[in-house]
């Protein structure tokens, strides 16, 4: 049974759990991040992290070092650490500014697996790789620039702490080497290459019809790259081998995560998490985690897709031509749990390689925790589309 939490009435822009999942950091489309603590079946707000001047676009919580990094449209990132307050003695989150030296908004941030670096994707057509310089007590930021030609929308780290995948609005998914001389030891050779100085391109991929790459993810072993693009497809790339592309007849996916070496869960504008499975021989869509029985909306009638048949246009047209003052409740609630786009899916429970639960948040302000094992077939229940 999925656990459903109504966190807020505003969209949840980003969410991140701490290591034992007792606390949640969210950005509710605002300049401040909220820390919520779990009390029973509720999430109660406990602290506010106020420092940014513009919307916080992305949050990541490092499980081992317990540091939070927030990135915002104000072109800055802050690293938050829990320290005792000098005046009151209470434990508070203390921010440290990281000068990213970008001249556009930051869009996405992720800690590296060893939590000694983090990558910030930005609209400045660059990715800032930030590492701590203890000699100067300062976060140093180096840029991955070539050959990115547009906003970077998402990043994901390879398990070896050196390679980074990036999806960009120039319709390409790329794998970069983010090797920082002072922090990393020489990594062992992988399928992506060996001897990789900073800013080497280890792979560049595009999907069949093109389209912005909204999300990228390395498999648990790091040998396979998956990316979701705006042409409603998900592509799985094997370096040196084939790229498998699954084109969906439905709305684009904007976020994805690997739950095991052969399973991906992706979600997007269809408001439900979809499961894909496969191997280097081929990939296919397996089903959805939302079997439609949890949501409280009714099924949309056939043929009620399109802007002239639903929403405000239909309401006023029906009131005018047919004298119907309400169109019934057929269009107002979706049959899925999420009532709006899911913007983020993250692993919740399990070990990397065998994730048993995932958490999703979206534009409707709800947080849902799903069981990855309960997959049901995807038939005729896409948000407003009847297949």
């Amino acid at each position: 049974m999925p656990e459903i939490f109504n966190i807020s009435q505003t969209p949840i822009t980003a969410h991140a759990f701490n290591a034992d999942r007792s606390q949640l950091a969210v950005s509710l489309n605002s300049n401040d991040a909220q820390i919520l603590t779990r009390s029973g079946s509720e999430w109660a707000p406990t602290e506010m992290l106020t420092e940014h001047d513009k919307v916080i676009t992305s949050i990541d919580w490092a499980p081992n070092s317990n540091q939070i990094v927030t990135a915002s449209q104000d072109r800055n990132a802050y690293v938050w650490q829990q320290t005792p307050d000098p005046d009151t003695g209470k434990i508070v989150w203390k921010p440290t500014l990281v000068l990213l030296r970008i001249n556009r908004a930051a869009t996405h941030v992720r800690w590296s697996p060893k939590e000694d670096k983090f990558a910030v994707a930005s609209g400045a057509r660059a990715i800032a790789i930030c590492s701590f310089d203890p000699e100067n007590n300062w976060w140093v930021s180096k840029h991955l620039k070539k050959p990115i030609r547009s906003t970077v929308l998402a990043v994901d780290w390879h398990p070896n702490n050196v390679l980074l995948a990036a999806g960009s609005a120039d319709m390409k998914a790329r794998v970069f080497s983010a090797y920082v001389k002072e922090i990393d030891e020489r990594p062992a050779a992988t399928v992506w290459g060996s001897k990789l100085p900073f800013n080497t391109i280890c792979g560049e991929f595009a999907s069949a019809a093109g389209g912005w790459v909204h999300s990228v993810g390395f498999s648990p072993s790091g040998d396979v790259l998956a990316f979701a693009s705006h042409d409603s497809s998900i592509s799985i790339a094997y370096p040196g081998g084939a790229i498998h592309n699954i084109r969906m007849p439905t709305l684009p996916l904007v976020t994805l995560t690997w739950t095991s070496e052969d399973t991906i869960i992706a979600a997007g504008h269809d408001c439900q998490p979809i499961v894909f499975s496969g191997s280097d021989a081929g990939w296919q869509e397996v089903g959805t985690l939302d079997n439609g029985s949890y949501g409280t909306g009714s099924k949309a009638g056939p043929g009620s897709v399109g802007r002239l048949k639903t929403g405000a246009f239909a309401t006023f047209r029906d009131a005018d031509s047919r004298g119907q003052t309400s169109s019934g409740t057929t269009d107002s609630k979706l049959s899925t749990i999420h009532q709006n786009t899911i913007t983020s899916v993250r692993p919740y429970a399990g070990v990397p390689g065998q994730i048993t639960q995932v958490s999703t948040t979206g534009v409707d302000g709800t947080l849902v925790i799903w069981d990855t094992a309960s997959v049901s077939a995807l038939t005729g229940r896409m948000a407003a589309l009847s297949v």
């Binding site: 310089d133 000699e135 100067n136 140093v140 930021s141």
Partner: protein, 140 residues
Amino acid sequence: MSHTVDIPQPIKDSLRKFRFARRNDGSAAIVIKINKQKLIMEEVEQFDNISIEELAEELPENSPRYVVLSHALVHPDGRTSFPLALINWAPTTSEIGLLTLHASALLDFQTTADVSKIIEIREGPESLTTDVVNTHLLGK
């Protein structure tokens, strides 16, 4: 002129010794850093007979340094001379406070070291090459 950073006597002596040391071949360099807590200059290390590219590898990528370089310059007419140059090593990824302090103390350091040519290197190891140094010393 006010001095933000002090140059202690041992550093001045090191610089004089470096300046007057007999050079036979190769380039030699002395690297000085600023100690932000104490606001004094400190010598980091000296290199003898090092290539410019090796020097670029040795210098920190995220911290500013002053490098007094005695470079083996081969003139187009075949002569070899050993001019002194000051490399203002100031990568943009350095901490801002330290970078500003470094910039404010540059003029003072230059007069103490008594060097006329300054080479500004702001981008990091890629922009410090033998060609860059030669062009600077030969041209202007």
